[in-house]
Symmetry: C2
Subunit: 141 residues, 2 copies
């Protein structure tokens, strides 16, 4: 799970400059379970940094993703959605309200299920498990 102070330390250590914009994006993501889009992160950060540019948001998100501090976990309505929780876990995308939910899962079972795949010679860098349908809330109506 992303923590701003640890991420800052990590980035500094890698030689990256610690700009207010980068810290602001990290803070917007810390503890955020909404799987926000770049636009949503932009809106959050605008509150404290009224001059920030959307291009900077994209820059920072790209950096954080490359450094493995966050993941792009889905694409909903054409927009990438980001998750500060980089542990492998399934997501559920609601086709009606476009919310992205984390799905709790028995980690042992998951590891067991996937341990012999993909085939030899393939090197896996990330795994995505995504359910799509209609969520509890939307099904009630």
């Amino acid at each position: 799970m992303l923590r701003t102070d640890e991420a800052v330390k990590y980035l500094k250590n890698k030689g990256y400059r610690i700009t207010p914009q980068r810290v602001a994006v990290l803070k917007a993501l810390e503890g955020n379970t909404d799987h926000p889009s770049a636009e949503e992160i932009f809106k959050i950060v605008l509150k404290t940094h009224p001059n920030i540019s959307i291009a900077t948001i994209y820059n920072v998100l790209e950096l954080l993703e490359e450094e493995g501090l966050i993941n792009a976990v889905a694409r909903v309505n054409g927009m990438k959605r980001f998750d500060p929780n980089t542990k492998v876990h399934p997501h559920f995308i609601c086709r009606k309200c476009h919310k992205v939910y984390d799905i709790p899962i028995d980690r042992e079972k998951l590891v067991d299920c996937f341990k012999e795949i993909p085939p030899e010679g393939f090197i896996t860098e990330s795994v995505k498990i995504t359910f799509e349908g209609t969520c509890k809330n939307c099904n009630r109506n």
Copy 2:
């Protein structure tokens, strides 16, 4: 697995018109394990239908996906990739060569692994399991 004749029957039965363009897209996808993009399907169909428009390709693909005859299984380099095999099965996306591989998997194990998720009240319409990394071929070089 998609079969052109069955798909045609299905679409006709639903009241859709059977146009040469629709049949051509179906034929381009039948038995295709390359997970082609819209552009790639366009190129295939152009050989037999030199006047077809890319917009028509997108139209037909949208229709086939809505009708559950094909799936959009991934987005690689910004491009949707399509699979005529609509059975749930994992994919491996190579970050170097951008090939999309089908991954064989023990179906029973998969069902067992996923049977109690997602949580009650959520209605699942599709499941995607995607590995990303570098493929056997690219790792050799």
